[in-house]
Every structure is written in structure tokens, then in C-alpha cells.
Amino acid sequence: MYWLRRGWAQLRTEVLVLPSRTLAALWVAGVLLLPLLYGDAYVLRIVTMTCIFAIFAASWDLLAGYTGQVNFGHALFFGAGAYTSALMSLKLGLSPWTTIWAGTAVAFFFGFVVGYLCLRLRGSYLSLATLAFPLIALGMLFAFPDFSGGELGVSGLRRLMVTPTGNYYVAAISMLVIVFGLWALADSKFGIVLHAIRDDEVAARASGINTLRYKLMVFAIAGAAAGFAGALFAHYLRVAGPSTLEVALSFQVVIWGVFGGLATIYGPVAAVFILYPLTEWLGSFRAFGELRLLIFAIIVLLVLLFMPRGLTPWVRDKIETQCPRCKQRNSFSRKLCRLCGAALKAEVPGAQRLVGHQ
């Protein structure tokens, strides 16, 4: 009883005071309870895919948003995870539960290698150079069709679980764990260092930070998370094909990331949860079937025109205000700061805009 009351108090004072936290909590509950409330196989399938892509998008954001290493070839890690896991479980007959970790490890290694190769590059050069890596891998795959299955890919994999609900929970829980893990990582000291590297690498190095090591680490971590997503994807669809390495997937993750808001982790996840089901839903109408990519692109364009910093920062600014004195965030309905009691509305018109976001 005590723990229940304590938990409720925690919930009320820490989560429900802020609309964004309430939204996040609702979202977690929704993801976990969905199969119980609405067990339609088609919906479950879409949300499972959404969860897998959410891991992928969040890992890209750690690399691109926080560290500023805008990676155009993130599909490399996804594909590496998918192919490694698929080939190992098919050729060696191992259980998918072990090969997923092998895929993650290989993607970790790939992240390390790509990071090492790109250490000296910056800005647009880095983006364009990273675009090359998945295409090189794709060329290799097509050149050795006996091993990789060529255009058709590796198919006939076992699933992780037998029932759709089981598969859903595997994807959803690993998504929650990884997303919150990346979020915690990005909010820790490690994340602050990454911010510093993005904003001014020279200054960060001058402050005694080994920026090379941090960049390598973040490449490897993001690669591992993306590889995990790729391995899950391969075992969920039971096929690892060349589409996991395509330019389109790399661009897709960039779209998700920027649409949701860079350097937030939750932004890309929210974007995936909005955009992926939306495209599927649009595709379900016969009239829109051919036009769904068009509509998708137009929606992205319009949203960007009105909120160039991405969707979630815009929403967050609408529903919350930052206390000018103690920098804590407050619900939009409050007049005074919930912690220090300072007035939230600045007296000087326009001064609110001077209070920086993050």
C-alpha cells in the first residue's frame, strides 16, 4: 500500500505536472497495452514495424542530432545487422535469439570502422562520404549472389516468437528499452560532451575532451542500435533483402529525424510513430495507393515550412514554457514557476523569445 501511494505521488509530482511527460507516459502505456485493447493482426503488424523503425530513427538521432555527424548512410548498420543475423541463423542454424546479438555486434564493428574512416571529415563531406558505404556494401552483395542471395536476399528465416502478439512484445519492449536507454545516455554527461562536439569540436578538444574517442564511441553505439533494429526487422519479416541497404532507407531515416526534431531522441521516435502508420494508412485506400509517397512528401514539406525546427520542439514550445529564472520547464497553463515561484510571463514584451531553448 505504501509503495502504491508513493508511486502515485511520484507519478503526480514528476510526470503529470508536465504535459510532455504525460504524453510520453500515455504513449508508453499505449504501446504496452495495444495488443490487449485492439488485437487486430494488421494493426499489430504495422505497430511492430513502427517500433523497429523507431529504434533505427533514435539511433540516427544520437549520431546526427547530438554529435552533428549527419550520417547519410545509416542504412549500412541496419543492413549489416539484418544480413548478419539472417545469414548466421540460416547457414549455421543458430537460434534467432543469439544471432540478433551477433548482428548487433557486427553493426557495432561497422559503426566503429565507418567512424574511424570518417574521423577527419566534417559537415557535408561527412554526409556525402557516409552515403557511399551502404552502396559499396550493396555492390558487394550483388557481386556475390551465391552467398548473399543477390537481389532476392536471404529468406526463410525463423521468427522470434510464434504468435503475432509475442513478436509485437519483443519489438515493443526492446524499442522502449533502447529508446529510453539512448535518451538516458543523451541526457547524461556523455550527451553533454556530444553536444559540445557538435557545437564546436575545436573548443571541446581544447577543454580536454578526447573528441576522437567520443566520436568513435557514438558511431559504434548508434551502429549497434541500428543493427539491432535491422536484425529484428529481418527476423520479423523473415527476409533480409537489399532493400535494407538502399539509399531510400537512409533518406527515410533522415526525414524522420529532421521531421521529428533533431537532438531530442523522442522527436524521431514520435515522427516514426506518426509518419509510418500514416503512410500505411494512406496506402490502404485504393485511390491513394499510388499517391501515398506524394502525399507523404507534401506533408513533410508543409510541416517543415511551418515548423522548421521539427515537430516535437514546436509542440513542446506550445504546451510548455521555460521558467526565465531557474530554467525548469512548466506546463503552459501555469502563471508561476512550479519550483521557484518566478512569474513565467516576462514583463518585457518579446523577452520570452530571448530565453534560449536548451
Binding site: 557535408s124 555492390g139 512528401a297 513533410v300 522548421p308
Partner: protein, 275 residues
């Protein structure tokens, strides 16, 4: 041909700091426009070519004003906007013309024999047009006031602005110029290749490889990069088994290798750290 694309892309990046993913989509648009005018309405060869280049260029300026300019401040948003534009073009073409390949009858028949190798006139035309366009771009960039303004803006945007140049207008002129190059490439190439809505993806990657190899924002670098990548692709296809699959990979490996040694590309100017 690749050189035309690469130089246009390089220009737009150098001056306006826009990584224009939609660049090759304009090339596709021009090819479609040319196809429609030539085959459907039966206009003359030169006329339809000129009209399509002009129309696509105007259209690009319109796109720039409507879509890119409002989000210029946010680099990432610009990037996504160009990707979205490219997707929109692709889908529109897919919707209007269908996904199948469209062939354009060769505009020039016959071939000439040079040193025992027969070269179709069409390919010769591409070569000549490319050479003329390159010379034209060189002339515009280095011998006119507009070129001076473009180069100054590429060098230092803020100072150029302070010197009284209308930086926005310069950026717009650059967009027009670079897209015109892409459109010309699309028009002359259309009869050799087939026209389909996905034709912008393959050249995009090659173009990026060339531009990065040669150095962003460098005209000479783009030209030499185009030569290197073009030859490497051709050699790989002939010399290596399964080379057709590997040609992109080998070209990109060369690009990565060059970047490892010279992070700013062969002829790139190392950009000052921008803060």
C-alpha cells in the same frame, strides 16, 4: 554529362550552402519535358530542347522561392525539403507517365568512325554540348559581373552581403544556372538512355561521388572528378567479373580513399570552420 550535373551541384552548394538532393530530379524533369514536347506534340528538336530547359529552370526558381527560401536558416530542414521535392517529382512523373520506360528516338542518326571505333552522332552531340556548356559556365563565372558576385558569395557570404550584393538574388541566379545545367544534361542524354521516374537516383550517387572527389565548390575538381569516376566505372565493367554490380562500389571506394588522404577532396578549398 556527369560533369554537367556535378558542376551544377557543386555551384549550388558552394554559393547557397544547399545540399540539393533534388538536383538530379530536375534532370529527370527536363528529360520528361523533352520527351513530351518532342514525341507527343511533335515540336522541333532544338525548339523542344530549349523550351524544356527554360521551363525547368523557371520551375526550379519557383521551387526555390516557395520551399527552400523560408527554411534557409535551418540546414537540416533544407536538406529534407530537397529530398521531399525529389520524391514529389518522382511520384508526379510516375502518376502522369506511368512507371514503364519511355524511349526517345535518337535525335541524330548515323555514326562516325574514329580510329576504328564507331561513335554514334548522338554521343558526339553529348560531348559537344557538354563542352560548350562547360565553356559557357566558365565564361559566366570568370568573365561577368554576375560570375564575380557568385564567386564572392561562395567565398564569404557575409562579406559579400556587406559589400552591397543582393545575396538572395545571387543565390537565386545560382540555382537557376545550376538547374539549367542539369536540365541540359537531361535533354541531351534522354535519347541515349531510357526515361523513367527513377532515373534520378543512379546519377545522384555518382554525382555526389564526383563532387566530393573533386572537392565541393570547385569547378575544375568536378570536371576531373567526373573524368576519373567515368573511366573507373567503364574499366570496372569490362575488367572485373560481375563488374556491372561493382561499378558503383569501386567508384565510391575510390572516393572514400581520396577523402581519407585529403578530407577536402582533390581540388576543394578547405572551408573555414563556420560558427
Amino acid at each position: 554529362m556527369y560533369a554537367l550535373l556535378a558542376i551544377g551541384f557543386s555551384l549550388i552548394f558552394g554559393v547557397a550552402r544547399i545540399v540539393n538532393i533534388a538536383h538530379t530530379a530536375f534532370y529527370m524533369l527536363a528529360a520528361y519535358c523533352f520527351y513530351t514536347l518532342l514525341v507527343k506534340t511533335g515540336l522541333g528538336l532544338v525548339l523542344s530542347g530549349l523550351i524544356s530547359v527554360g521551363a525547368v529552370t523557371l520551375f526550379s526558381v519557383l521551387c526555390y522561392r516557395l520551399v527552400i527560401e523560408p527554411v534557409r536558416e535551418h540546414e537540416a530542414a533544407v536538406l529534407i525539403a530537397t529530398i521531399a521535392l525529389a520524391l514529389i517529382f518522382q511520384e508526379l512523373m510516375l502518376f502522369t507517365f506511368g512507371g514503364h520506360f519511355l524511349g526517345i528516338p535518337s535525335t541524330l542518326e548515323g555514326a562516325v568512325r574514329v580510329l576504328g571505333v564507331s561513335i554514334p552522332y548522338q554521343r558526339l552531340l553529348i560531348l559537344v554540348v557538354a563542352a560548350i556548356m562547360l565553356a559557357g559556365v566558365w565564361f559566366v563565372l570568370y568573365r561577368t559581373r554576375l560570375g564575380l558576385a557568385i564567386r564572392a558569395t561562395a567565398n564569404d557570404l557575409e562579406v559579400a552581403n556587406l559589400m552591397g550584393m543582393n545575396v538572395h538574388r545571387v543565390a537565386m541566379a545560382t540555382v537557376a544556372l545550376s538547374v539549367a545545367l542539369a536540365a541540359v544534361a537531361g535533354v541531351v542524354v534522354a535519347p541515349v538512355f531510357v526515361v523513367d521516374p527513377f532515373m534520378w537516383l543512379a546519377p545522384l550517387v555518382t554525382m555526389l561521388a564526383i563532387v566530393v572527389l573533386g572537392g565541393l565548390g570547385s569547378l575544375k575538381g568536378s570536371l576531373i572528378g567526373a573524368l576519373i569516376i567515368g573511366y573507373v566505372e567503364a574499366i570496372t565493367v569490362f575488367a572485373v567479373p560481375a563488374g556491372a554490380y561493382l561499378k558503383g562500389a569501386v567508384a565510391l571506394i575510390i572516393m572514400v580513399a581520396v577523402l581519407l588522404v585529403r578530407p577536402e577532396g582533390l581540388f576543394g578549398v578547405a572551408f573555414e570552420e563556420e560558427r
